[in-house]
Amino acid sequence: MTDEKLSGNLIQELKRGTITLSVLLMAEKPAYGYSLVTDMQAAGIEVEQNTLYPLLRRLESQGLLESTWDTGESRPRKYYSVTEEGRRTAHLLGREWRRINFVITGLMGESMVEENGT
């Protein structure tokens, strides 16, 4: 495996967990699949639609999201919104995210200090 491909895979792994948190936060307002993809991309979160769509279903089956079909528009659309359980999970994930961020930032600071020899 080339360095570039390996780095790519590791970055993907790093991002994977954050997508779930991002979806739970962004689904506060009911949104359908395609609008979620574009909203997330606009917010700077790189996510492929084929990654997001199955994730939405998985989060729904876990009770973190709920969905309704809106048939009032030109074609039926499935809208997802976060459940109470999803909000609690997002809160826990957010707290963990801050803790990890704090620790990793600290580690990066130390390694940078060692690298600079200061």
Partner: protein, 315 residues
């Protein structure tokens, strides 16, 4: 947007059976959203193909809705468990019927009655185990050796969809499920208790009506192997129908072949003079055979008509 339907059909064939409809509906909505966002409300054929290509190959898209390599293909797993449950119910029904029929003749009491009731469960379990073995092997073979006609791997292009047929929607899953149950029951009943026909004849005459003939059970036994093959083929056809979710050309041809075989066998049995005694009319088993013959001929006629009509519409 035929190409979109062909694409969704190709994805659907790789999705788990029980959630296929829901996922396909959602994918249709998502894909159309993307197409509209990219090319507006009236995209050209070329633009549709471009959007579909970007959406991913059918195999890649379906794979994201499932995970891991399994002994039985994910598209078949739910169906496998459903047939297992159907077999358990059908065995119980069949052996209960055999018990009731025998009980009417022998009038068992006490220990014999209790033993007979226990034997219903023992026989059902034994029959079910044998059935599960055959079912598992069949599904493993189906999963391993029957390759999809839809190219899903690397090198997939949207042009591969042109051969995908968007068949007639199956109107009722319940119809297929009931057929499977009853075919299992027929197989068990006729193989374990063919003289149930004589009992049926006796019950008929008790009602005061006259029978036009009676069935020679020893001759009827010779047909049971052939009938079992037909019923087993019927079960396989129904399972395939449930699995596919819609009738493509292959299933329509299979249905026609099955109807033709059933019509042929019922016709042969109808005219086999060795099969009957005390013959002085049609009333009796021959009427059932005549109905089967007529129904199957009608199904063949309707099937051929639909095929011709579809071909004309396509042209």
């Amino acid at each position: 947007m035929k190409i979109v339907e062909q694409y969704l059909r190709a994805v659907g064939s790789k999705l788990p059976w029980n959630s296929r409809k829901d996922i396909t509906e959602e994918l249709r909505s998502l894909l159309l959203d993307q197409i509209e966002a990219d090319f507006g409300l009236e995209p050209s054929e070329k633009e549709l193909k471009e959007s579909i290509t970007r959406f991913g190959s059918p195999g890649q898209v379906a794979a994201r809705y499932r995970s891991g390599r399994q002994v039985i293909s994910p598209g078949l797993t739910e169906l496998y468990f459903m047939i297992m449950a159907i077999m358990a119910g059908a065995m119980l029904l069949a052996f209960s019927t055999v018990f009731i029929v025998e009980a009417f003749q022998d009038m068992p009491v006490g220990k014999v009655l209790v033993k007979g009731i226990l034997m219903i469960f023992a026989n059902s379990f034994g029959g079910w185990l044998s059935g599960v073995g055959a079912l598992t092997l069949t599904f493993i073979i189906l999963s391993r050796f029957i390759k999809s006609s839809i190219n899903i791997d690397e090198g997939w292009t949207v042009e591969d969809l042109k051969d995908v047929t968007v068949g007639n929607k199956i109107e009722s899953r319940a119809e297929s499920i009931f057929s499977i149950v009853f075919l299992f029951i027929f197989i068990v009943l006729m193989n374990f208790y063919p003289s149930i026909l004589t009992l049926g004849e006796n019950l008929f005459t008790r009602s005061g009506l006259m029978l036009g003939h009676r069935v020679v059970i020893e001759v009827f036994r010779r047909y049971i192997g052939l009938l079992t093959i037909l019923w087993a083929a019927g079960i396989i056809f129904r399972v395939a129908t449930l699995h596919k979710g819609e009738k493509g050309k292959g299933l329509i041809l299979g249905e026609l072949g099955l109807s033709a075989a059933e019509a042929l066998v019922s016709g042969i049995m109808f005219f086999d003079s060795r099969l009957y005694y005390d013959v002085n009319g049609w009333i009796g088993f021959k009427v059932i055979l005549a109905i089967i013959l007529v129904v199957n001929l009608a199904e063949i006629g309707a099937g051929v008509f639909r095929m011709v009509r579809d071909r004309v519409v396509e042209a």
